[in-house]
Symmetry: C2
Subunit: 415 residues, 2 copies
């Protein structure tokens, strides 16, 4: 039996014990994990240095190296993240529904851990701790498969966490790290029906699409966001301008940032030139439709490909539309059902947009950047689901639970 | 564009309009559908006769032909099923959560239709109407792919329903029937990401496994049930005997019937011979482990394969165990996480079983046959989920909904 199946089987075995832990036991384990990371930080930074050196030798970009790098402060931040998870309510064990049937059967629907969660992600080592913390807090076992660029860091981190868990009621086997950096180890994970209950991919488009296309284990699809902001002709410029700038510029690399601006032609005629100028000053490259370029001649030309592209960068495509209907059509055609916004003072049109746009999060007069578990008040986030089953939008701890019917009888049989 | 993609695209388009219908409009459409089935029953029975004749020519079993056959009474029953769906509350449009964030954003989580649901099923034509009714009631469009054995019946039924819908606010395009009986039409459906939001398979093991193994669209796995009943040594025989008989004999062909009986050795010593005799009188073939066969020598021998088999027939495998732990181990190893039961008067052991067994439904002193949407009081059932994501156990109308975050702002941007 290879590493992947072997570790998944150990996780499945540990899941049984995980399900029986109390909230206090789980919190105690997470606190021990946090303490151990801080105590053992020197050895983690040492392991991280190996990853960084390999990265440099391979010509990894400075931005990527920065995301990979650990230091005292970052490790303390990661440990603090675990402590924050401790503070969150445990969503398992709740009675969600209860009924007594005419035959006397009492039926309770209760929340339970999912079981074994597989996480496939890229190189940031903080995800290792964060994902582990969220899964373990909810009583799940977890099989982590991180990017090979962070392998030494992840190995040391998991070794430290295992040592911490060995002193608690939580079985260390509930936390498994796949160390094979072979691509086939991901492929194998995707087919482990019976051992893994769900796989959550966290990363770029190609990582996510590989999981969605090849997994036979159920998947929660996360991530891709071609998000739009539509400025209606009845928009208040004092709201529209900061919302657009925030949605594009504040953190362009993330999935809830805006990729396409849709502007009603009347608003565009009056305000687009000024708005485009401000965006350019902030370093944004603009690519517009023909109408937009008539108003802002220095804008580049948007191609069909631009409307479909998640730039994750300081690039914005701009389309001037003649109606709300045209904006809705565009979003229906090119949106990824992530986050969509209308800026308008017209309540009726806002209602129509909020109702008709099919997306995880629809906004009236606010930046799409708010689609986030912390901003929504969940205190945590395992990812942002862009599918419609199980969980949609920012996923907090409850997204890591399933349900179970418990039926109390007194000899009932079916007639 | 072939039939499958074309019809899925039409369903996707109709889903947009479906989402905007009121509950009254949806109910009105369902009532028209019910009336039309009754009015047009002669033409449906005529079409059904073609299927039956083809079935007879192909040597289809009498039992299968009976499941396929329609008559006045059955069509009235099917129409009545639609009227019952009308009576159920509409689960869409509900505000599931609402919060106001410190920055003033109001965040509402509301229930919405999933969008487009694909149903792949076998030959019973009543499923065509039932699945359509449940999906349409919840504001979803539906793409049906029934078994080729019922093709003429399904075509005529869907034509009748389309004529009925044409007189309502509901777009007939929301109901699509794939008529190609080629296996490749199923394969094509399974990959229609973007057009289908979910596929629900309804049928036997091979149909379900084909969907689970090959779909890239999210799937809700249903069905397979290797269900156990464990009789503890502190069981009351007056409860144990009827529960066991009911779970095996009342309707052996369905997924919630019992396939394996686990008996504590002390109970077995006192009662197994009598219980086995009663089961034999009821036509049940018994296949036992060595210990069981010592007590009941006429029992057949159970092989490893028996413990894994969903007989769906009057066959029962029997294992005598020396402890609750051994029973739990057996269920963990061979169960399909469907429905599992303990019969005991010992509350502590019952609690342990209910907590430790990982299944959609766990029973204390009641027949596993109750795992059913109607028995649970949901008034409907689209299937019984045996996976842990989205829905687990009997799925009523709420399982056909997703959620959406609607965020009301006043110019908020992220800091």
């Amino acid at each position: 039996m290879g590493e992947v199946r072997n570790k998944a089987a150990l996780a499945r075995e540990a899941a049984q014990a995980m399900n029986l832990l109390t909230t206090e036991q789980k919190n105690e384990a997470l606190l021990r994990m946090a303490d151990a990371l801080v105590t053992e930080r020197a050895s983690i930074i040492e392991a991280n240095a190996i990853d960084l050196e390999r990265g440099r030798a391979n010509g990894t970009s400075a931005a990527m190296l920065d995301r990979l790098a650990l230091n005292d402060k970052r490790i303390e931040g990661i440990a603090e993240g675990l402590r924050q998870i401790v503070e969150l309510p445990d969503p398992t064990g709740a009675v969600l529904e209860e009924s007594t049937r005419p035959n006397g059967l009492v039926i309770r629907k209760i929340s339970v851990p999912i079981g074994v969660i597989g996480i496939v992600y890229e190189s940031r080592p903080n995800v290792t701790v964060d994902a582990a913390g969220l899964c373990l807090k909810t009583g799940n076992a977890v099989v982590l498969r991180g990017g090979s660029a962070a392998l030494e860091s992840n190995r040391r981190i998991v070794a430290v966490l295992h040592e911490a868990l060995a002193q608690t009621a939580m079985p260390p086997g509930a936390l498994q790290l796949i160390e094979s950096s072979d691509r086939s180890s991901v492929d194998e994970m995707l087919k482990l029906n019976g051992l893994l209950d769900v796989i959550i991919p966290r990363g770029g488009r190609s990582l996510i699409q590989n999981v969605v296309q090849n997994a036979t284990v159920p998947v929660i699809e996360t991530g891709e966001g071609v998000c739009h902001t539509y400025i209606d002709d009845e928009a208040d410029p004092a709201k529209a301008e900061p919302i657009v700038i925030n949605a594009k510029v504040q953190r362009p690399s993330v999935c809830n940032s805006m990729e396409t601006l849709l502007v009603h032609e009347r608003y565009a005629g009056a305000h687009l030139a000024q708005l485009a100028g401000k965006l350019r000053e902030l370093g944004v490259e603009l690519r517009g439709c023909a109408k937009s370029r008539t108003l802002v001649p220095w804008m580049g030309e948007a191609t069909e490909e631009d409307w479909r592209t998640e730039y994750n960068d300081l690039i914005l495509s701009v389309k001037t539309v003649s109606s709300l209907d045209e904006a809705l059509d565009h979003i229906r055609r090119y949106g990824t059902m992530h986050s969509e916004c209308i800026v308008t003072e017209n309540a009726e049109r806002a209602d129509r947009f909020l109702r008709e746009v099919d997306a995880a999060a629809v906004y009236h007069n606010a930046s799409t950047r708010f689609t986030d578990g912390f901003e929504f008040g969940y205190g945590a986030e395992i990812g942002i689901s862009t599918q419609k089953l199980h969980a949609r939008g920012p996923m907090g701890l409850p997204a890591l639970t399933s349900t179970k019917y418990v039926i109390y009888g007194n000899g009932q049989i079916r007639g």
